[in-house]
């Protein structure tokens, strides 16, 4: 065996597991994204007193697969005057960056593709930010004014809100002293308190900034239908369009995972360190059993026999999942799997809640105007997040001076958060005053786009 093949073998030994995981994620993710879209459509329908997709499968459960099939076999249209190469490259860039950033995330203590990278959270945030080039270049390459406008808005928006998001991350990272994702979650388990309690203002800032970064409503100006047709995606259709869609929803998963890791305790159960609350371990099983029972109750009411069987299959799947979740609690042999299985459950659960909240906001708040968006970013979020970093730092120094840990840290971080809130109110007041002054002198100018 020569040196080259030996090196290859060594490389494979080290990296075959991550490679396999990567392939699996790339294969499964489109399906997950499809179902997130289905949930979103169902939720939107519910909020607008409609039924949403109902035709394909029971309650439209097979709709994502039908949609994906339709997108795959659609005609691939490239505009005549488009820059062909860049037009081809742009969606791939977007989706590639989004998928690559998933590699750094830790879904439970056992599942992480890029194990223990020192720069963990920075890797995820930095790589996912590269997806913007897909949007900007795609908008430019389409050679259409709507697309270009969407691309311009998108880049301005991202640059503005990335600062606020970064500062919010810094506030939380001050508590950990490390960038490694596993160590961040372990720090929260050691303190016995999630950082959302210690840095609520930072969590709020990150929430708003992450909505803007993923181009979601109410900040979906780059693809505002009422003004720009579909923004940067106007000229894209079929498979390329679906790549953009995949990238957008993957980015949602990424920001939700970052928020979960940093602020919501990652894979930790609520009150992970408290012994007498250990019965909370049975909550996942009960949840699964509840969903399964609901499916069984609803199954006879389906009009078609295939749909009834499908409902029963879903119920069976829920029961199996519940069983998998309960076995490590009851059988001593399966104990080693407890952390991995339950960690994975809680992580995915929290990420889902965060995404659910995104959808909720989308159907509740009307879209912002572009100058309002820019002002919110530069005049409100960025000053607030910078001041919050300072306040959290002061609180941490005070905490170490009084030797406070865990819930005791709330004694110093709560005043800091209250001060940040007062600052926020002051900024808002100053903004309102300025508005009033401007309205007196001249009509406000609409420099949208």
């Amino acid at each position: 065996m020569n040196a080259a093949s030996q090196a290859t073998l060594e490389f494979l030994k080290l990296y075959w597991a991550p490679l396999l995981c990567g392939v699996a994620i790339v294969a499964i993710l489109p399906l997950i994204v499809g179902y997130i879209v289905l949930v979103e459509r169902k939720l939107m329908a519910d909020m607008q007193a409609r039924l949403g997709p109902m035709r394909v499968g029971p309650h439209g459960l097979l709709q994502p697969i039908a949609d994906a099939l339709k997108l795959l076999i659609k005609e691939d249209i490239i505009p005549d005057n488009a820059d062909k190469l860049v037009f081809w490259l742009a969606p791939v860039l977007s989706v590639g960056a989004a998928l690559l950033s998933l590699a750094g995330l830790a879904i439970g203590p056992a599942f992480q593709i890029a194990q223990d990278i020192n720069i963990g959270i920075l890797f995820v945030v930095g790589i996912s930010a590269l997806g913007i080039f897909g949007i900007v270049l795609g908008g430019w390459a389409s050679n259409s004014h709507y697309s270009l406008m969407g691309a311009l808005r998108s880049s301005a928006q991202l640059v503005s809100y990335e600062t606020a998001a970064g500062m919010a991350l810094v506030s939380a990272l001050l508590f950990t002293g490390t960038l490694n994702i596993k160590s961040i979650v372990e720090a929260q388990s050691k303190e016995g308190i999630w950082f959302v309690m210690l840095a609520p203002v930072a969590f709020f800032t990150y929430l708003v900034a992450s909505i803007a970064e993923t181009n979601r409503a109410p900040f979906d100006l780059p693809e505002a239908e009422s003004e720009l047709v579909a923004g940067y995606m106007t000229e894209f259709s079929g498979f390329r369009w679906s790549l953009y869609f995949l990238a957008e929803y993957t980015n949602m998963i990424v920001v939700a995972s970052v928020a979960t890791t940093l602020f919501l305790g990652g894979w930790l159960r609520p009150f992970a360190g408290v012994g007498w609350l250990n019965f909370l371990d049975f909550v996942p099983t009960l949840l699964m059993a509840g969903v399964g029972a609901y499916c069984i109750v609803r199954a006879p009411k389906q009009p078609v026999r295939v749909q009834q069987l499908f409902m029963l299959a879903v119920a069976g799947l829920c029961f199996v999942l519940g069983l998998v979740l309960v076995v490590p609690l009851l059988l001593p042999i399966a104990k080693p799997f407890y952390a991995g299985i339950h960690g994975g459950f809680w992580f995915i659960f929290k990420v889902s809640l965060y995404i659910y909240f995104f959808m909720w906001l989308r159907f509740t708040i009307p879209r912002y105007r572009f100058d309002q968006l820019m002002r919110l970013g530069w005049h409100f979020l960025i000053p607030l997040s910078i001041i919050n970093v300072l306040l959290v730092g002061v609180a941490l120094i005070a905490g170490s001076y009084f030797n406070l840990h865990g819930w005791g840290l709330l004694l110093v971080t709560t005043p800091a958060a209250v001060t940040a809130l007062v600052v926020a109110l002051l900024i808002l007041g100053a903004e309102k005053e300025r508005d009033a002054r401007q309205n007196q002198t001249a009509a406000s100018d609409f420099y949208a786009g």
């Binding site: 820059d83 720069i119 900007v136 430019w140």
Partner: protein, 172 residues
């Protein structure tokens, strides 16, 4: 073997895209090649086990500065820009500077007695474990060993930033 292969890959991509960046007539294509060159350099940083530099290169240069570059490029009318003279007439000065730089790099290799790509850390986990974590090292040197230069640089940047804001502000 693999590390050498990766090094030559990244280095080749960096050099090739740098050349392409200068020679393309389309500004957006130039920008794309500049991004590629920066990413390839980041790859070399990563190979040198400087993961913090790697991600800072990507976040700051690629994710921050290049986005602004592309933003500005899109506001420029490309058809007009193409008709203008794109290359400054300073060939001889440029040649002199390039030769001086090449001489410096050559001198470095000559004194160290190593060829480019030699002496790279090997891509084995066992070796990596003995290296101190990069972000911690950077933090210690910035905020302990070289605090004063760091602060001076920060003040300089702050002054530049305030200057830019003052100049951009509307006179009312």
């Amino acid at each position: 073997m693999l590390d050498k292969l990766l090094f030559y890959f990244f280095a080749g991509v960096a050099v090739a895209s740098a050349v392409l960046m200068v020679t393309r007539r389309n500004v957006v294509h130039s920008a794309i090649f500049l991004i590629t060159a920066l990413l390839a350099t980041a790859g070399i940083f990563l190979q040198l086990r400087a993961e913090f530099l790697f991600i800072v290169q990507i976040i700051l240069y690629v994710g921050g500065i290049m986005v602004l570059f592309v933003f500005v490029i899109m506001l420029v009318n490309l058809d007009v820009a193409l008709q203008q003279i794109q290359f400054a007439r300073q060939k001889w000065v440029a040649l002199l500077v390039a030769l001086a730089l090449a001489a410096q790099v050559g001198f470095m290799f000559w004194t160290s007695g190593k060829m480019p790509g030699q002496g790279l850390p090997v891509l084995i986990a066992a070796v990596a474990e003995h290296l101190p974590p990069n972000s911690e090292t950077v933090a210690h040197s910035l905020f302990e060993s070289y605090l004063l230069p760091f602060e001076i640089a920060s003040v300089l940047l702050l002054v530049a930033m305030i200057g830019a804001v003052v100049m951009a502000k509307k006179r009312t």
